[in-house]
Amino acid sequence: MDFLSHLNMAFGIFLEPSNLLVCFLGVLFGTLVGVLPGLGPTAAISLLLPITFTLTPVQSIIMLAGIYYGAQYGGSTTSILVNIPGEASSVVTCLDGYQMARKGRAGPALGISAFGSFIGGTFTVIMLMLLAPPLAGIALKFGPPESTSIMFFGLTMVTYLSSGSMIKALMMAAFGLLLGCVGTDLIIGVQRYTLGAIALEDGVGLVPVVMGLFGISEVLFNIEESFQKKDIFKTKIKGLLPTKQDWQDSAGPIARGSVVGFFLGLLPGGGALIASLISYAMEKKVSKHPEKFGTGDIRGVAGPETANNAGAGGAFIPLLSLGIPCNVVMAILMGAFMIHRITPGPLLMKEHPDLFWGIVGSMYIGNIMLLVLNLPLIGIWVKILKIPYAILFPLIFLFCLIGSYSLNNSLFDVLIMICFGILGYLMRKFHYEAAPLVMAFVLGPMLEENFRQSLLISKGSLMIFFLRPISAAFITVSLCLLVSPLILKLFRKQRPGLLIAGKDDL
């Protein structure tokens, strides 16, 4: 099939009213959580996972994807109007976005970030359509050793790019792998670490784990301190459409943001946050007047806001074509696929073409829906911003409690969720990151299966990973990444605890 017939198929599936509805609900909810500070896309997807289980696989994935890219849109609103990032990937938008709002240009700032997001989002959907099928074709030829080394590479990248200490990130990845071992062994069928509990025979559930780690722990962290009144910018937002001059200034940043964001989204461990940071740094470098950045320059809004949406879209490619999630949200989406007994990866397009093209179609329309939701309806989002956290946080708790209960109608899952909530809270206090844990937890069972199958093929020799070219390349790069901090340490006199303390903390 060629490009156009694919496109035709995508829209055919997507234009069914029920699919349109779930996509709308997805982007609506995504914008909502994007707008609300203290509730990121990861937490939002975790919260909504149980609800999507009642939908068909296509609908559930469309909805979850909508939440993810919708949150990228919504995040900018909070950054611009309140100077608090609605979610992490909008951090840099605060720098110039809020300054623009203070100068009375909140409208164009919101406008350009919505248009930029739209362009970046649409660009990546087109790239997704063009790139995913051939990539999946290559991936079909992969055997267990290749899959093992690619997953290993993915995990390495996530720990390497983690914002905190790499050693601690690796520890969390190791713990995630161990957690993934709980339950019935896939190859021989032995029960492992179930402590005799029937509820654990299928393993620890992904949903209670992520709800705890991202939902409950986030709230616990936020309620430590008394809530301050949010200082919402009190001017009428007028003139959402950027002027001709704005467009001229923003064209370059939007174009560059789309490309950079897309490629960073592809990278394991990358995604929306890094895309927006790099885009901002790049625009500042390229600009003839870098001193204007931070004072309300529209380019500092257009670039990063485009890049974070492009990054969010780009992240779908490795998941849908190779079956490798490259960030934690994709890992959760992958878990959602598997709960519907669908394995994302090279076979997805062959076995479930409706699913793949349904997602692609939904991303086209979803981006248009978001443009409509975010521009004319901006007033509603500003009102929602005013809901105090004191009222919001019990709601998030309640949603987590009922959501985890509803999975199997069991209180056991609720207990698991509360425990992981406490663990996640303590992990934050002790400077351990949750993302590598969840990534490894999702990838663990597959990694183990492929690892053991490889060793079965090679009769126990680890050399199999180095003798096949693709596998050798990925393993070598991963090992280099893992060793590089140690080598750097030998050459450089280090401040105490650098390896342990996060880069952020220094």
């Binding site: 601690k168 071992c181 021989i188 670490y193 309640l398 009922i402 690892f451 060793l455 605890g497």
Partner: protein, 160 residues
């Protein structure tokens, strides 16, 4: 902060040891090919080794140096521990009470408690929010998504 690093690394060493001893039971190799225990054993060894690195470097680093790296205290505010404790109590109480008191009553009490004791709201706000959320969540989960939420004693009185 030094203590936090120590406690953290010791905790993860413990976790690693538990998983490793389990793995030995599930056999690392079975007639020459990897058994069910090999993968968790490797994972456990990695976790233990890295935890030791954290442990040793935290012992070597002086407390003053840690203060330079980690500026924050464990709790940012004097009554933080109370707020966290109340929240955890509410969560566990919900978990225990759900089957006995039923969804409606438990949720009502849960919301009232949280809105009262963590960041006190006026009773009017408290009850409006509580009643609205209890009803809305009941409609969404019980009626909309058909989750069989526990009825508890309240349900028995009504006879539902």
């Amino acid at each position: 902060m030094k203590n936090r690093e120590l406690i953290g690394s010791l905790f993860w060493i413990g976790v690693g040891v538990i998983f490793c001893t389990g793995a030995l039971k599930y056999r690392l190799f079975k007639s020459g090919v990897p058994g069910a225990g090999l993968f968790p054993f490797i994972g456990g060894i990695i976790l233990i080794t890295l935890s030791f690195v954290v442990l040793i470097s935290s012992l070597k680093t002086k407390e003053e140096d840690w203060r330079k790296i980690f500026k924050e205290k464990f709790f940012p505010q004097e009554n933080s521990w109370k707020r966290i404790l109340f929240a955890l109590l509410a969560l566990f109480a919900y978990w225990i009470a759900l089957e006995y008191l039923g969804f409606l009553l438990t949720t009502f009490l849960f919301m009232t408690f949280l809105l009262r004791f963590i960041e006190p709201q006026s009773w009017i706000t408290n009850f409006t929010t509580t009643i609205l959320t209890t009803t809305a969540s009941y409609l969404l989960f019980k009626i909309g998504l058909k989750v069989p939420l526990p009825k508890g004693i309240l349900g028995m009185w009504i006879g539902g």
